[in-house]
């Protein structure tokens, strides 16, 4: 059994952080060596959507206030997991009510896309932090 492949990324909650997250994701994915590209596309899409949600929520709630977030990526033999953590204000989100926007809408697809791409998406508030857990089975 191979050891889990792990990477931790800590970035400021800025739009530009999405590029950093994707660069780190690409390096980590190479290290993981998962051959199924569909798994990568789904998981990376979900990771980008949640990172964008965190950045946009932080800006809406607090402006540019020097907030940041962390992302921990872990792949073991059966599961690929991403955990986002940020110390921003609580995200007022009920994931059970999320639906895909109609085709004419210009926004409102991010969370629905993440949910559709993953085996599970969980949001909780713990110790003053927002915690998002994204899981894909390999």
């Amino acid at each position: 059994m191979n050891d889990p492949v792990q990477r931790v990324v800590i970035v400021p909650a800025t739009i530009e952080s999405i590029d950093v997250v994707q660069e780190e994701f690409a390096d980590w994915w190479y290290e993981v060596g998962e051959p199924n590209v569909a798994t990568r596309f789904k998981f990376e899409t979900a990771v980008v959507e949640i990172a964008t949600n965190i950045v946009e929520h932080t800006h809406r709630a607090e402006g540019s206030s020097g907030r940041g977030y962390s992302l921990e990526l872990v792949a073991d033999a059966t599961t690929i997991t991403a955990v986002f953590s940020d110390n921003g204000k609580p995200a007022d989100i009920d994931l059970s009510t999320v639906t895909m926007a109609d085709v004419d809408n210009e926004s409102g697809r991010g969370l629905a896309l993440a949910i559709a791409a993953l085996d599970s998406l969980d949001y909780r508030r713990a110790n003053g932090r927002n915690i998002w857990t994204l899981v894909c089975k390999r």
């Binding site: 739009i15 530009e16 999405i18 590029d19 994707q22 590209v37 569909a38 596309f41 789904k42 990376e44 899409t45 980008v48 959507e49 964008t52 950045v55 946009e56 895909m100 926007a101 085709v103 004419d104 809408n105 210009e106 926004s107 697809r109 991010g110 629905a112 896309l113 559709a116 791409a117």
Partner: protein
Amino acid sequence: MTSIDVHEADGGVVLAPSGRLTVVTAPQLRSAVAERITAGDRIIIVDLSGTDFVDSSGLGALVSCLKSARQAGGDLRIVAPTEQVSMVLKMTNLDRILQPRASVADALRD
């Protein structure tokens, strides 16, 4: 960083974003398309063959550009999406209103 190659074609204009089309770069596509519509172009072809990755912000920009083109009496057509882009178009049902064409020539013929 995404760059958008813009070139004239017979009957339209072709915009080819390379790299990732996300919240970081979607505003560039919106303004490039708006510029071409203001300049008088009506058939906007977005060549996605060099676009590796699109997120919901990139999709939102495509929907917005499609609306702008149609409001101006024209159309927006997408060409040759890569694997991840095809996947998100299907997952969001946007392949119904943004039906991919195989080539720029096909998109210009419609």
